[in-house]
């Protein structure tokens, strides 16, 4: 295979107020034409910095300290900025994570694609327009002639990312760098975009560098994988080898930390600690601090590259031929069994019936209500004490709104919410506040959910003080210390401020804050979606053991199917404000009945080669975007995207049907 891009001993530094950050250190790899190379790693490991260095789009204060970047034999580091501009968008193209902010909002899509065509291929006028239409067609945008003259706001997120891809392709790049191209997209849209990218790469024989943290996407897309840790490449391997026998302890931990159905009854492996700050200098292996197999040599000596198998190389002392004895000692899977308490009686802690949240759309001088956004439109739920109910759906389906309405943070328009038999609708003032001790919420963003101006102890105490839990000040302080110990925080952390903590620790503080008022139900709104895989494992383990200890019930709002498999007992799938399928987790996830559930599950990339190859064989990904909740389609909301849509689907919304004893499905196509 001919080498398209060769990176040799690349080091990049950024000068900041905290000192010099060694963002990349001695990174070397090759990229071949027609292959997809995936860079994998947690946040802050230097994946994006590698991409930016290739394009020479360095952050303020950044510079390439040493090394070579050779594109077809030409060293990019030696080029002037003017020559580099020619390379960018020409031979090298890049697409970014956030499609919403990468397009200029005041130019039409056609103008933006045309700009690249004019710059890199000298096309103008009708020729450019024809080419732009062809490109838009290639990335799967329907009706390209018309849509070329539309502005970015008229495109949905997935469509914007397609436009970005079309723009990147306009310069006929030989290498496409994709920096987390689908992280901001929903799973069904992600599947569509990934399909487009794989197809284009095959037909154009283009090299692709895919930066991601998702092992599932790697399994679906990559030919070769490079794992990055703390600014270094630590392992490189072909796909089959990587998924069957990952070598570096860090790579193995990444696999072990994945929440999966098989690990339901155990703890997930997690990596203690966090990625070291790159301002420090390293004496030995960068992972030694967090590695269970590290010994003296790891702390003293920087590991060299070793090759345990053809095509695979790893930067770890374990694979030094001189250390064979160690390499053979495999991981003793220290899986602990967590006893899940089975509730004695099905007592129905939380009962929700016909919950509706409609936001009025107001127009005109007099703010007349001209319509409603039906964010939540008749949701029924039931959750027993000590159980977990997962509320699954794509963004905009109303799952977070439903959670907040149950907590009375948003006033529901209609419906009944009963906690332990008491109807929250009937409560007001003092009695509603009393009810607040019994259910709490944990939020998605650990950085936004803690007041940066308050100490940890003040944050945890706030609810106790406000709701009058915990007695005197001294007793309350003791209580805070106990709760902090329970969630795995040291008591001396109580006087610190949130900015001193990592994302995982912050999420622990948020959980401690919710636990402080001794609730029976915690509504978790995507508590792990902002966290890295290893930290996510820590938080999931914590949630699970807390449930076992305290008999908590969780309403777990998420879009991550793997987390559902690991944590939930029951699952409810939401689409456009309504629940389309609800039942025990094994049934729903193993044999989905509703076409939407089926499509959703098929779209989820699995970190498992066998599963992925199956999915690749028959890509039956659902078409189109989710309609707006202000104008839901007539009849069944899903029918425009449903492969099984019938006439009746276009006319009436299906009623609930009970299938397989415990499952509720709302679909005309499903037979009892």
């Amino acid at each position: 295979m001919n080498t398209l891009l060769a990176v040799r001993q690349l080091s990049m530094q950024i000068e900041t107020e905290q000192g010099v950050v060694h963002a990349l250190d001695d990174v070397s790899f090759d990229l071949h034409a027609g292959e997809t190379f995936a860079l994998l790693g947690e946040s802050g490991c230097g994946k994006s910095m590698t991409a930016f260095s290739l394009m020479r789009l360095l952050p303020t204060g950044g510079r390439i300290a040493s090394g070579r970047i050779e594109l077809e034999g030409q060293d990019l580091c030696g080029l002037s900025e003017a020559q580099m501009r020619h390379i960018r968008g020409g031979a090298l193209a890049m697409i970014f994570q956030e499609p919403g902010t990468s397009l200029n909002a005041v130019l039409t899509v056609g103008q933006q694609i045309g700009e690249v065509l004019a710059l890199h291929r000298g096309l103008k006028g009708a020729a450019a327009r024809g080419e732009a239409v062809a490109l838009m067609r290639q990335v799967g945008i329907p009706d390209p002639e018309r849509r070329l003259d539309e502005y970015p706001f008229q495109f949905s997120g997935g469509m914007k990312q397609r436009v970005m891809i079309a723009m990147a392709l306009a310069g006929e790049p030989r290498l496409l760098i994709a920096d987390e191209p689908t992280t901001a997209l929903d799973v069904t849209i992600q599947a569509q975009v990934l399909d487009v990218m794989a197809e284009l790469q095959r037909t154009r024989r283009m090299a692709m560098m895919l930066i991601t943290h998702d092992l599932g996407i790697v399994a679906r897309m990559a030919h070769r994988i490079g794992v990055m840790y703390a600014g270094q490449l630590i392992e490189e391997a072909p796909r089959e080898r990587f998924f069957s026998a990952p070598a570096h302890p860090y790579s193995r931990k990444l696999f072990d930390a994945l929440p999966e159905a098989q690990r339901r009854h155990g703890r997930l492996a997690s990596i203690p600690g966090s990625v070291p700050p790159l301002t420090m200098r390293f004496e030995g292996c960068r992972f030694a601090e967090r590695c269970e197999q590290a010994w003296l040599r790891c702390k003293a000596e920087v590991p060299a590259w070793h090759s345990p198998a053809p095509g695979q190389r790893v930067r770890c002392h374990l694979f030094d031929p001189a250390e064979t004895r160690r390499a053979t000692t495999s991981f003793a899977d220290a899986e602990q069994h967590i006893e899940t308490v089975q509730p004695a009686a099905q007592n129905g802690l939380l009962e929700v019936a016909g919950l509706k949240v409609h936001f009025p759309i107001r127009r005109g001088v007099f703010q007349r209500t001209v319509g409603h956004v039906k964010a939540v439109d008749g949701v029924d739920l039931r959750l027993d004490a000590g159980r977990t109910l997962a509320l699954v759906g794509e963004s905009g389906c109303g799952k977070t709104t439903a959670g907040k309405a149950i907590l009375w943070l948003i006033e529901p328009t209609e419906g009944v919410v009963k906690l332990d038999g008491a109807d929250l609708v009937a409560l007001n003032g003092a009695s509603l506040r009393a009810m607040r001790t019994r259910m709490q919420m944990v939020f998605q963003d650990p950085f936004g959910s803690l007041n940066p101006r308050l100490r940890v102890s003040e944050i945890i105490e706030e609810g106790m003080r406000s709701l009058g839990v915990g007695g005197s000040d001294a007793a309350r302080r003791q209580e805070v210390a106990a709760i902090m110990a329970q969630v795995g925080l040291r008591s001396e952390m109580a006087d610190r401020y949130p900015h001193e903590f990592s994302g995982g620790q912050r999420q622990r503080i948020a959980i401690a804050r919710a636990l402080a008022v001794k609730p029976q139900l915690i509504i978790c709104d995507e508590p792990t979606s902002a966290l890295d895989v290893s930290v996510q494992a820590q938080i999931l383990n914590l949630l699970k053991s807390l449930q076992a200890e305290l008999g908590l019930a969780y309403l777990f709002i998420t879009h991550n199917i793997a987390v559902v498999e690991f944590l939930a007992h029951e699952v409810a799938v939401m689409y456009l404000g309504r629940i389309v399928e609800r039942g025990p987790v094994e049934q729903v996830l193993q044999q989905p009945r509703h076409p939407y559930t089926q499509a959703l599950l098929a779209a989820v990339p699995r970190a498992n080669l066998a599963a992925e190859q199956g999915a690749r064989a028959e890509p039956n990904h659902v078409k189109g975007d989710m309609p707006s909740p202000s104008k839901p389609p007539q009849g069944c909301h899903f029918h425009p995207r449903c492969p099984h849509a019938m006439d009746i689907c276009r006319q009436t919304y299906p009623d609930s049907k009970i299938v397989d004893n415990a499952r509720v499905v709302r679909c005309h196509w499903v037979s009892d």
Binding site: T16, E17, Q440, S449, N451, R453, G463, S466, L467
Partner: protein, 484 residues
């Protein structure tokens, strides 16, 4: 019985209130780690430190000028001690310190360092004949026998004395400070002096020390020179212009700060309420500030000033001295300006609150049933306070300039109050004269420029440190201290 009677004018009281609030704020900021950290960032900049020194000088002069008293009239022996009369004129400690300067009035205009009046007058010779010539000044250069020959040497000598004295004063201030700072770090006096003066401290104490040296020398030179000359000349009625400028400092500073007493409660209270509650409360507050900010402010101030004039005249029993009358006008002007300039702060805070209200920690607090007022004071205000601070320091210089403009237009402070605006207004006629009389305007210009410039530089440093959106490039000082 005392030889004086303490007088507390309205502005003195409000100024003291403001200083006390500032002191409380400083203590509060010192206790809060995140605030301390940001303030350290402010004081790590050299420009900010130099500006701070200048602002402190203005503050010191203003504080001295705000301690008022009425001296006792010369007691006649045998008159009942209990019925001692006090002067109707109100003096301040600054007046006491500048007694010489205040009393050394001439007949009319005289140029800086002049020994003669600026205009020819009829002089009666000892022999009784009349001569039209430039008369000698009664105070300026009066100690010289032959001004033309001796003046340059005398000025040089006085300046040199001033430099030496200023240097000594600086040493007396600096050494104890260096000693204390060095002892904390376990250094000798020499080491600590070197560390400070070479700028090896994290905060820019070097800039502070050098700026202080400059200020000490300047003040001492001015003091020595003004002992024998009118350094900035005299005005139409022979008052020393330096004295007038020094007295104007307090007016400028009061103008820049007193209005915050109105701006803060209105701006913060209404801004938070509008953003947090939304709905009709938001609509109401928005209408209110839109209306207020669309009225031309000179018009509003002129109306209010005239009304205040009426009130003062009708209640002469309360405002029984000239000082209290002009003070009442000053205070009312500050309050009126405050009452119309809260809108910008309110608007900014409303926008920030709208954003913060949706933050998860506010939602979490609502989950706990925390009352709205507590959410606003504990969760929203501390996170929006940088806006208040930035707004205040940026507004300060604009207000100082506004005073000059208003006095120039004629709706400003009482003519009896010394202020830069009054001086500039007076200069209107002086500039039209031939030969031109330039020194009043120049003195006002220099002192006002120093105040506004240092306020602006300081405001910039504060904004840079507190504004989360301001991206700061790495500063060499910080890098150096980190490297150590």
């Amino acid at each position: 019985m005392n030889a004086f009677q303490i007088v507390v004018l309205g502005s003195d009281f409000l100024f003291a209130l403001l200083l006390a609030a500032m002191a409380v704020g400083i203590v509060f900021a010192f206790r809060r780690e995140h605030l301390r950290r940001t303030w350290r960032k402010v004081f790590a900049g050299r420009t900010a430190m130099v500006a701070l020194v200048l602002l402190l000088v203005y503050l010191l002069v203003s504080v001295l000028d705000s301690l008022h008293y009425r001296p006792a009239l010369d007691a006649q022996p045998g008159v009942n001690e209990m019925r001692r009369q006090y002067a109707t004129e109100v003096f301040s400690l600054l007046d006491l310190a500048l007694t010489r300067l205040r009393d050394s009035t001439e007949k009319s205009y005289s140029a800086p360092f002049a020994a003669y009046l600026y205009e020819k007058q009829m002089i009666t010779e000892p022999d009784g004949s009349l001569r039209r010539d430039y008369p000698r000044l009664t105070h300026g250069a009066a100690h010289l026998a032959d001004p033309n020959a001796e003046r340059a040497g005398d000025i040089g000598l006085r300046a040199l004395q001033g430099v030496v004295t200023g240097g000594l004063v600086w040493l007396a201030l600096f050494l104890p400070f260096a000693l204390i700072a060095g002892r904390k770090r376990g250094e000798t006096l020499k080491q600590s002096c070197r560390a400070i003066l070479r700028g090896e401290t994290v905060l820019a104490w070097d800039a502070f020390a050098w700026a202080l040296l400059l200020v000490c020398i300047l003040v001492a030179v001015l003091a020595f020179l003004s002992g024998g000359y009118h350094v900035f000349g005299t005005d139409a009625i022979g008052n020393d212009v330096l004295y007038r400028t020094l007295k104007s400092m307090r007016t400028a500073l009061l103008f820049g700060t007193l209005s915050t007493l109105v701006v803060l409660p209105l701006g913060i209270g209404l801004g938070l309420a509008a953003g947090y509650f939304g709905g009709w409360i938001d609509d109401l507050i928005q209408y209110l500030y839109t209306v207020i900010s669309s009225i031309p402010y000179v018009l509003l101030i002129a109306a209010a000033a005239l009304m205040m004039q009426l009130v003062i005249e009708q209640h002469s029993e309360i405002f029984n001295t000239v000082a209290s009358r002009s003070d009442a006008r000053l205070v009312s002007l500050c309050l009126i300006i405050g009452a119309i300039s809260w809108t910008s702060l309110c608007r900014l805070l409303r926008a920030e609150t709208l954003k913060l209200r949706e933050q998860d920690y506010v939602q979490a607090a609502r989950c706990f049933g925390v009352p709205s007022l507590r959410i606003m004071t504990r969760h929203i205000l501390p996170n929006a306070f940088h806006i208040v601070l930035i707004n205040l320091v940026l507004d300060f210089s604009a207000l100082v300039l506004a005073e000059a403009v208003l006095s120039y237009v004629g709706v400003g402070v009482d003519p009896a109050t010394q202020s830069f605006g009054v001086m500039i207004n007076g200069a209107r006629g002086e500039l039209a004269r031939e030969p031109v009389i330039w020194w009043s305007l120049t003195a006002a210009f220099i002192f006002m420029l120093a105040l506004v410039l240092s306020a602006n530089l300081f405001a910039d440093a504060v904004r840079e440190a507190f504004d989360p959106r301001a991206r700061t490039l790495p500063r060499r000082r910080l890098l150096r201290s980190a490297a150590r």
